[in-house]
């Protein structure tokens, strides 16, 4: 009988259980951490979209063709336009809308479902009925230079672009 081998079996089993427990613990703690971080970033995104909404009101009331929002946050998140007939995040209620959301891990330009899920869970949206489709872009600090979102009124439509 190999006594060494027998002892190894129980040790390995204990180690496996320990690893499972540690993995669970790491998962729960990281979930807690990221949930806190993301909820904070969602509030920042909401605040940036509030600026967009005020910008649109400003443009309408003062008949201004352009409005710029500088250094919107959170840095690293994406600005998306969900324009018909695409499937849209729930808070858009089927209307065209502008969203600031975390970029989905699997997003490669056409993986819309994953990105929609990310926008529903981590992000904020503002309904803009006359929003024109645009290529999504990332909010970044551009190495200290000014960056932001430019709103342009073109006829009946509203264009959004990165500064």
């Amino acid at each position: 009988m190999n006594q060494k081998g027998n002892l190894m079996t129980s040790t390995v089993l204990k180690m496996v259980i320990a690893v499972i427990c540690i993995a669970f613990l790491v998962y729960f703690l990281s979930a807690l951490y990221y949930s806190k971080i993301n909820s904070q970033k969602s509030i920042e995104a909401r605040s940036s979209l509030d600026q967009v909404r005020l910008g649109i009101i400003n443009m309408e009331q003062n008949s201004v063709a352009e409005f710029e929002i500088f250094d919107p946050s959170p840095v690293g998140w994406m600005v998306f336009g969900f324009v018909s007939p695409e499937l849209k995040p729930n808070s858009c209620s089927g209307e065209n809308c502008l969203c600031i959301c975390k970029k989905s891990a699997g997003f490669l330009g056409n993986n819309l479902d994953k990105q929609l899920g990310a926008c529903v869970e981590k992000g904020a949206c503002e309904i803009i009925g006359n929003l024109q489709d645009f290529v999504e872009f990332e909010l970044d600090s551009s190495g200290g230079a000014f960056s932001g979102i430019r709103l342009k009124s073109v006829g009946e439509n509203l264009e959004v672009e990165k500064i």
Binding site: N90, S91, G94, E95
Partner: protein, 303 residues
């Protein structure tokens, strides 16, 4: 030979059974959807806290999350991402799903007995958007015309009992089973609930006047409702109706006359014990002029 430290087959089997049982229990706990129930409880508690006169407003923020509910005749929902899915087979099950959402909303926001809107110098209407309802395209199996009259929903609410209580949904939420008759007395139309639209389950209240002149409350309400008109009716237990003149043309949306052609029943309201008004649970189309004209100044729920 049983050596010291060696795990026996029995122990290993027990360990595996324990781990498997734990996994099964976890699976069922997640399947039960306790998170949704928990969110309702958290919301209800935050409303009660907010209504507590001893706690300052800033110290008790509302913590209510809007639910995205999809009512579907199959197990799919193409119009929403990760919604709370309610599967229905019949018209009555659809009404039941809606009634539950409305009653839950009423319960979460204190059944009209809690002032979650606080005090303000200029009283405003605070709307609580408890849930956003979407009807999946599979609902055409149940509603072939793609719509139903809200009148049918009020009929259901007046007949069906709410939970284990003996009172009807209508009695619980509106304090009367005669909402339909009340609307008819005013010659009001019931709107159609159209399957292709999104709807809010909404309740709300006007904040209490926080200044010196208490008489200003009524004036505040008048300003808030704008084109919406408020009518008190006698003999129905204090139930009143909130009306908005029908949208005959999107361009010409103005306040109108009682019971004129095109006036729709929107939501029952009542004078609450704080001297302001509470909108009782109702379904309102998300992107409608009726909702915009309610002019909800601050939404007490976040998305």
């Amino acid at each position: 030979m049983n050596k010291k430290g060696e795990l026996t087959t029995q122990q290993i089997v027990m360990l595996i059974i324990l781990i498997a049982s734990f996994a099964v229990i976890l699976f069922f706990i997640f399947r039960l959807g306790l998170g949704e129930e928990q969110e309702r409880e958290v919301c209800h508690n935050s409303v009660l806290m907010k209504g507590n006169a001893l706690i300052p407003d800033e110290a008790a923020p509302l913590n209510c999350k809007k639910q995205y509910v999809c009512i579907s005749a199959d197990k799919t929902c193409e119009g929403m991402t990760d919604p709370v899915l309610k599967k229905v087979k019949t018209k009555n099950e659809t009404f039941e799903a809606l009634a539950e959402e409305m009653a839950d909303c009423w319960w979460m926001f204190g059944e009209g007995n809690v002032n979650y809107a606080g005090k303000e110098i200029r009283p405003q209407l605070h709307c609580a958007l408890c849930s956003q309802i979407y009807f999946d395209n599979s609902m055409s199996k149940i509603f072939a015309e793609g719509k139903f009259s809200e009148e049918e929903l009020y009929d259901y609410l007046a007949i069906e009992e709410y939970g284990s209580s003996k009172e009807s949904y209508s009695m619980y939420m509106y304090g009367s089973n005669e909402i339909k008759q009340l609307a008819q007395n005013f010659n009001l139309d019931f709107r159609d609930i159209r399957m292709e639209e999104y709807y809010y389950v909404l309740t709300g209240m006007t904040s209490v006047f926080g200044g010196k002149e208490v008489d200003a409350i009524g004036g505040g309400i008048g300003l808030i409702v704008g084109t919406a008109l408020t009518y008190a009716t006698g003999g129905t237990g204090g139930v009143a109706l909130k009306l908005v003149k029908g949208v005959l043309s999107k361009k010409a949306f103005v306040g109108g006359v009682v019971g004129s052609t095109g006036a729709h029943f929107i939501a029952p309201i009542f004078k609450n014990r704080f001297g302001t008004e509470t909108i009782r649970p109702s379904l309102i189309e998300v992107n409608s002029d009726e909702f915009k004209n309610l002019n909800c100044k601050e939404l007490a729920t976040y998305a």
